[in-house]
Amino acid sequence: MHAFQLFARRLANAVGVFVASGLIVSVALALAPDTGQDAPTISLFLKYSRQFLTFDFAGSPALEVLAQSAKLTFYLVSAALFLTSLIGVSLGLAGGLARPGSAVTWVSRFIEAVTAAPVLIVALIMVLVATSLFEIMPEFSLVREGALQERMIAFLLPVLALTFGDGLLADIIRSSEICARQVREREFIRALRAKGIPTGMHYVRNLLPTISALIANKITLLFSATVVVEYVFNWKGLGYAVLFALQQSKDYELVLLVTMLMVFVVLATSLIVTLISDLSDPRVRASWKKV
């Protein structure tokens, strides 16, 4: 089958999933109590559906809140992803290639054990440690006037919590290790070594598609963890906004908006990663060119 056909099918699937999830969320929110509006459920459902399908949120305060929060969440998530990939890939590569009993293996196992802890607990422990050890104010709101050091730590802590909680790091380490070992067994790596050609870049190059796919797969979990971390550290991003809306302000339109935004990011990431992986493999690229 042509790569293009495959991609078109994936795209269609993604759109379908997007619409379906939007409908489900709309149903859920329409059924929610205490909206303060007396409209019957069905009309609420229709209203929500129309809103997310046409992206027509004008007239609600949701959009303004969104921009600012989205920026904060974006910083948090991208920093965490960056850190996770960096640590994960390095440790995984080193571990996969290392000899048995070397120090790297111990470090990897230790980190895997640590990241098996639930993100909430990790975050809380970090708060504890920060407050007791460093005497930092436990209110981690992003104070604009605060000293640079404080702001940096205020940013660093949630990023660390997000990196080390809930096992995304563990998955990347393990995946990189397996990948590294597999690549090492490949015939062309042996052939290169037989000729004395350095093989480092080939490891990275073969690792990237797997790791990107893994991340694209697990990005939903990352978003879930982000919500928790934002709440714990008072980081006023999208997750915090959603929780606030659910607990207090009952602004369900906002919840709809944020959820659909996250779904969109998840689906888009998955598609983009697949596209890039395909294009970087000359065999698949050739099949694309045939279209």
Binding site: N13, G16, V17, F18, A20, S21, I24, V25, A28, L29, L31, A32, P33, R99, P100, G101, A116, A117, P118, L120, I121, L124, I125, V127, L128, T131, S132, L133, P138, E139, T220, L221, F223, S224, V227, V228, Y231, V232, V242, L243, L246, Q247, V255, V258, T259, M262, V263, V266, L267
Partner: protein, 406 residues
């Protein structure tokens, strides 16, 4: 340095060491689970639900825990564990009290504190101790080397003692927390004993999780088995539904369910079961597809076994049961984490019901307001141990039951 060795005589393989690891893990996990179950049963029996505001926020009775879990702000202070920057008073002849007093006492029992006074860098053998400010009954013993007190009522009391060396004098101020029985892990803001609260919360940790795990693994096996065996449209539908549920961040979905169900924790955790379902279903489906085409299936069919029998007995039960067990326990531990999370976020168990998440929530407030850390610390450890124990049990059992592929 890597070492490889082979025993020539007995030809030991890995089987043995793996079994041992499996046994250890199962034992550890089983202990944890047993403790949890026992704790929740005991807690529901006893009537220690009493909130006693006079015993609010007492630190743990254990001196070890006290030393690094308590550092209050306010008038009554004492030496924190970590201090950046030196102690300014360590001059040649300056006095200091280097010991830490115990902070808790029980009504009717004698409390003894023997301070260590240091002059410069050496002990002062005969300090002149005195009580500067203390509740009634707190007094210097006859030997004049220690303080004794037998408290008569519960509550919080400020104590200041002094040590004198003629030219200089040093004070030590601390708080005494008196309760009617020893609180090994301290108390929360309402005066509830933390150990009891944890035991009571264990119920919330286990029960909804049990339902969820049964749902997830049971339904998952059903769907996966049927889908793998018969294939077709059911499968595709299932795949699509799974994609949808996997694209929405799970926690957000759960939040919505929580709000919808008016914070009914059982429903919410049950909903979690539906989110976990695809994992089991996929694994079972893959296995069924793999085994479907094996010869022994044909043989069974010729023997007259029905499709139902073949699918469940031969394929699933014989070959997959250890994996299913492991998944079951993983689901259980995940349920605990989710329960704690949503209760912490205020969308799950709410006061006056007690669950670990509620304890954490209160504990966090206490930590910020009163610099009180043991609630969060101890509860976190409890959660970690429970999760780890359940996971270990799952893995241990699956290792013990081995890989019985035909």
């Amino acid at each position: 340095m890597a070492t490889y060795s082979e025993s020539k005589r007995t030809g030991t393989g890995t089987g043995r060491s793996r079994r041992r690891a499996g046994r250890l893990r199962t034992a550890y996990g089983a202990c944890v689970v047993a403790m949890l179950v026992l704790a929740s049963i005991l807690a529901s029996r006893s009537s220690d639900a009493l909130e006693d505001p006079s015993q609010s926020l007492h630190p743990p009775h254990s001196r070890f825990l006290q030393s690094f879990l308590y550092d209050p702000l306010g008038e009554c202070t004492f030496q924190p564990l970590f201090r950046f920057g030196g102690d300014d008073n360590r001059g040649e002849y300056a006095l200091s009290i280097s010991s830490r007093p115990g902070l808790t006492a029980v009504v009717g029992r004698e409390y003894i504190y023997r301070p260590t006074v240091i002059a410069g860098s050496s002990r002062k053998d005969t300090p002149d101790l005195a009580v500067a400010d203390a509740p009634a009954g707190f007094e210097l013993s006859e030997s004049a080397l220690q303080f004794t007190w037998t408290p008569l009522e519960t509550g919080r009391f400020c104590v200041t003692i002094s040590a004198d060396a003629g030219s200089s004098r040093v004070y030590q101020t601390f708080e005494m927390f008196v309760s009617d029985k020893p609180h090994w892990f301290g108390t929360d803001r309402a005066g509830r004993d933390l150990l009891w609260a944890l035991a009571a919360g264990a119920r919330w940790a286990l029960l909804p999780g049990l339902i969820m795990a049964l749902l997830a693994v049971g339904l998952g096996t059903l769907i996966g088995g049927l889908g793998g065996y018969y294939g077709g449209a059911i499968n595709d539908l299932f795949e699509f539904v799974t994609s949808v549920t996997e694209s929405i961040p799970g926690l957000l979905l759960l939040f919505m369910v929580a709000v919808l169900s008016n914070f009914n924790v059982y429903l919410t955790i049950a909903a979690l079961g539906f989110l976990w379902l695809p994992r089991t279903a996929r694994a079972v489906r893959a296995r069924v597809i793999q085994l479907k085409s094996h010869d022994f299936v044909e043989a069974c069919r010729e023997l007259g076994q029905s499709d139902f029998d073949i699918l469940w007995r031969e394929i699933v039960w014989s070959n997959e049961r250890n994996q299913l067990l492991s998944q079951f326990f993983q689901a259980l531990s995940f349920a605990i984490v989710i329960e704690v999370t949503i209760s912490y976020l205020g969308l799950g168990v709410k006061l006056p019901e007690i669950s670990w998440g509620v304890i954490l929530k209160e504990g966090r407030d206490a930590a910020i307001a009163a610099n009180v850390y043991w609630i969060v610390a101890v509860t976190s450890v409890a959660v970690l141990v429970a999760v780890h124990g359940l996971n270990s049990l799952g893995r241990g059992l699956s290792e013990l039951l081995g890989r019985e592929t035909r």
